[in-house]
C-alpha cells in the first residue's frame, strides 16, 4: 500500500492548470482525464488512425495491435479474459446488449432493485411492456438499504436474471454482491452487475466474484467518453445472438442468411471507437499503476472527511444509510429549504462542480423521499481533503441563506 495524495495526482491532469479554481466533485457523472489518456487518444489520430480487423496494411496492423492490447488490459483490470470483453459505447449499451440478447424463453423473471440507474431499469422495463420478461423489484426504503432476506424472497426458480448495481450512483452504497450472486446461482439465475460506479473505485474481479455479466464505462474511470466494456462469461457469450448487427460481426453472409461470429466481435458491429478503446487502455494503466487497493483506501479517507464535513453543516440532510466502511466517496444531500439546483449553482460560483437532480435514478430518489432530487458530491483520486474543507466552508454559507 502506498499513501496517495490527490495534490500529486492533480499534476497529471491538464485541466487543473487551465482551471486552477476547479473543485471537481462530479466524478460519478464523468471523471477528468489525465495527460496519459489524452496523449494516447491523440496519438491514435496523429500517428496511426486506420481501422482494425479489416485492412492488412502496416498502419491497420498497428491499430489491431493497440486495440486488442487495450482489450486485454481492460479485461485483466476487471479479472476477465480478453475474449470475454465486448467493447460498448458505455454501461448503458452493455446492459441493453444483455437485455436484448439474453434468452428469456425458458425463464422470464428479472429481479432488480428500485435503486438502479435508469440505464438498468429501462431496457428491461421495455421488454416487460412487450411481455418478454416479468419484472420484480426488490425495494429499498428511505434508508436505502436492502436486506438479504428481501433478495431471498425475490429470487426464485422462475428468475432468469438478477440485475444489480455494484455501487450505487445516487447514495454511494455498495450491494452485497457476494450474497446476491450466490443466491441467483443457487436458483439457476444469472447475475448482471452494473459496474459503472464500482469498477472505477475498487478492485473488481469478474471471475473470482463469479459474475455472469459486468458492464462499465471508461469515462467514469479517467478514460474517454463513448467507450465502455461488457464482460460476458465465455460460454454465454458464444450462445448469445448479437443485438446490433453489421460489418465485423459475421462469419458468412448470403442474401438470405448470415452466420455470425461466435466471439465477442459479434457484438461490435461497424468501425469501432479505436481512439476510445486505446485511451481506455491508458486509463487502466494509470489506475493499475496507482493500485486499486490504494485508490479505494484513499477514497475512503476522502469519504470519511466528506461525511464529517456534511454532518457539520446545519440544515444538511444526507440520504442513504448511516456512513460505514462500505460507503463510497459519493454523497447525496439537500439543504433544508433549498432547491438542489440552487445549491449546485451557488457552489458553482466558487468553482465547485457538483450534480443536482435525480441522477438518472428517479425511483431511487423517490424512495429516499426526494422526488425533486438532491445535490450529489462524488469524489475521485485527484480530490483532496483541503478541497472538502473549502466545499464545507462554502456549503455552510449557502446553508445560512436558507435559515
Amino acid at each position: 500500500m502506498i499513501e496517495m495524495d490527490g495534490k500529486d495526482i492533480k499534476k497529471d491532469f491538464p485541466i487543473f492548470s487551465k482551471r486552477p479554481e476547479l473543485t471537481y466533485f462530479d466524478n460519478a457523472c464523468t471523471t477528468l482525464k489525465p495527460k496519459q489518456v489524452i496523449d494516447a487518444v491523440v496519438s491514435y489520430y496523429s500517428d496511426y488512425s486506420a481501422c482494425s480487423g479489416r485492412s492488412g496494411h502496416k498502419m491497420a496492423k498497428e491499430v489491431d495491435l493497440k486495440f486488442e492490447e487495450s482489450r486485454a488490459k481492460v479485461a485483466k483490470f476487471v479479472g476477465a479474459n480478453a475474449d470475454e470483453l465486448v467493447w460498448t459505447k458505455n454501461t448503458t449499451e452493455g446492459i441493453n446488449i444483455v437485455a436484448n440478447s439474453f434468452d428469456f424463453s425458458k425463464r422470464k423473471k428479472v429481479v432488480m432493485t428500485n435503486l438502479e440507474h435508469h440505464s438498468a431499469i429501462l431496457p428491461f422495463q421495455k421488454l416487460s411492456e412487450s411481455g418478454r420478461v416479468t419484472l420484480e423489484f426488490v425495494s429499498a426504503g428511505s434508508d436505502g438499504t436492502i436486506s438479504d432476506e428481501q433478495w431471498k424472497k425475490a429470487i426464485d426458480s422462475e428468475t432468469a436474471l438478477v440485475v444489480v448495481h455494484h455501487s450505487n450512483n445516487s447514495i454511494g452504497t455498495r450491494s452485497n454482491l457476494k450474497e446476491i450472486v450466490k443466491l441467483a446461482h443457487e436458483k439457476g439465475a444469472l447475475a448482471l452487475v452494473d459496474g459503472a460506479q464500482g469498477v472505477p473505485h475498487c478492485e473488481v474481479n469478474f471471475k473470482r466474484e463469479n459474475y455472469d455479466f459486468l458492464a462499465f464505462s471508461a469515462h467514469k474511470m479517467l478514460g474517454p467518453t463513448g467507450i465502455g466494456g461488457l464482460v460476458v462469461k465465455k460460454d454465454l457469450l458464444q450462445k448469445m445472438p448479437p443485438f446490433i448487427v453489421g460489418g465485423g460481426t459475421i462469419q458468412d453472409v448470403k442474401l438470405d442468411y448470415t452466420e455470425y461470429l461466435k466471439t465477442n466481435h459479434k457484438f461490435e458491429p461497424g468501425i469501432q471507437h479505436y481512439s476510445g478503446a486505446i485511451g481506455f487502455g491508458a486509463a487502466v494503466d494509470y489506475l493499475s499503476k496507482l493500485g486499486m487497493k490504494n485508490v479505494e483506501a484513499y477514497e475512503h479517507k476522502l469519504a470519511d472527511k466528506m461525511n464529517e464535513t456534511l454532518n457539520s453543516v446545519p440544515g444538511v440532510e444526507i440520504y442513504g444509510p448511516e456512513f460505514s466502511d462500505k460507503h463510497g466517496a459519493l454523497f447525496s444531500f439537500n439543504i433544508k429549504g433549498a432547491k438542489p439546483h440552487e445549491v449546485a449553482l451557488l457552489l458553482d460560483k466558487p468553482g465547485i462542480a457538483v450534480r443536482s437532480g435525480v441522477f438518472c435514478a428517479q425511483p431511487a430518489m423517490e424512495a429516499m423521499g426526494q422526488k425533486d432530487g438532491a445535490v450529489r458530491a462524488s469524489l475521485y483520486i485527484y480530490n483532496t481533503e483541503q478541497e472538502i474543507e473549502f466545499f464545507g466552508e462554502k456549503l455552510g454559507k449557502i446553508a445560512q441563506l436558507y435559515r
Binding site: H341, L345, L346, K349, K397, L401
Partner: protein, 258 residues
C-alpha cells in the same frame, strides 16, 4: 408580450374573484415572477451581448425563455435560477445578510425591477416622441434634456443652448423687421427693466435649434410654423409674439408675462 401580459392580468382578475382558487393565483404569480426575470435578462443581456460575446449565450437563453413563455410553452432552462445564483453567489462572501435577503426575496425584487423597467421604457418612448416631434425630449424644460436637434439634423448638447433670461428675441441678422424693431425693444427694456436674450437664428444653428423647441407656442400664438423674425418668447409662460409689433404691444406682452 403585451398580449401575454394582458392575458395574465385577466387571468389574475378572474382568479382573484374566485377565493377558492387562491393557491392557483399564488402559483400564477410565482410563474409571472419567473417570466419577469427572463424578460429583464433578455433586455440586460441583450444589451450587454452587443458589446461582449460573454453575454451572448445568456442573451440567447433569455430570449428563448421569453419566446417559449410567450407561446405558452414550458421554459426549463432554469435561467431564473442561474441568474439568482449568480447574484446571490457574488453577494454571499461580501455581505451574507444581503445575500440572504436577495435569496429570499429574489422573485419580489425582480418583479419591482420589471415594473421599473417598463416604467423607464415608457418614459423613454415618451421622451423619444418629444425628441422627434418637438426637437427636445422635454419641451417644457429643454435645458434638462441631453439632446436637442440642430437644423442640419445632427444633435448637440443643450449646454450651448440654454436661455437664461425670462424673455428671448429670435432675430435674423439681415432681417429688416428686426433691425426696425431694435429701438422699440431698447425702449421697452428700459421702461420695464427686463432684458431680452437676443438670439440670432439665421447664422447660429444652436439658436435656431432652440427656437425650434419653442415652435409649438409660436405656431399656437402666431399661427406661423417655422422661423418668423423677430419672435419674442416668454420662457416662463411659454407664449410668443411675432413680427414687427408696436411698442405698446411689446410692452403689454412683457408686463403680462413678467
Amino acid at each position: 408580450m403585451v398580449i401575454q401580459l394582458g392575458l395574465i392580468f385577466i387571468n389574475q382578475y378572474l382568479v382573484i374573484i374566485d377565493y377558492y382558487k387562491f393557491s392557483y393565483l399564488f402559483n400564477l404569480l410565482k410563474g409571472v415572477s419567473r417570466v419577469v426575470v427572463c424578460i429583464i435578462a433578455m433586455f440586460v443581456f441583450g444589451f450587454l451581448a452587443i458589446f461582449s460575446a460573454k453575454y451572448r449565450p445568456l442573451a440567447k437563453d433569455a430570449f428563448s425563455c421569453v419566446w417559449l413563455k410567450l407561446t405558452f410553452r414550458p421554459c426549463d432552462i432554469k435561467l431564473d435560477e442561474r441568474i439568482k445564483a449568480g447574484v446571490v453567489g457574488k453577494l454571499m462572501d461580501k455581505s451574507p445578510g444581503t445575500a440572504k435577503f436577495v435569496n429570499k426575496h429574489f422573485e419580489a425584487i425582480s418583479f419591482v425591477f420589471t415594473i421599473l423597467l417598463f416604467a423607464s421604457l415608457a418614459y423613454s418612448l415618451y421622451s423619444l416622441y418629444n425628441f422627434f416631434v418637438f426637437g427636445s425630449c422635454d419641451p417644457s424644460d429643454p435645458s434638462s434634456c441631453i439632446l436637442t436637434v440642430l437644423t442640419n439634423g445632427t444633435t448637440t448638447n443643450t449646454t450651448v443652448c440654454t436661455i437664461t433670461a425670462d424673455f428671448a428675441e429670435f432675430y435674423g441678422a439681415e432681417c429688416p423687421h428686426c433691425i426696425k424693431m431694435e429701438p422699440t425693444i431698447a425702449k421697452v427694456e428700459s421702461e420695464t427693466g427686463i432684458k431680452f436674450e437676443k438670439l440670432e437664428i439665421w447664422h447660429n444653428e444652436s439658436n435656431s435649434a432652440l427656437m425650434k423647441i419653442h415652435e409649438p407656442e409660436i405656431l399656437r400664438d402666431c399661427g406661423i410654423n417655422g422661423f418668423p423674425t423677430p419672435t419674442f418668447i416668454s420662457i416662463k409662460n411659454r407664449v410668443a409674439l411675432c413680427g414687427e409689433v408696436s411698442e405698446e404691444q411689446l410692452k403689454a406682452f412683457v408686463l403680462k408675462n413678467k
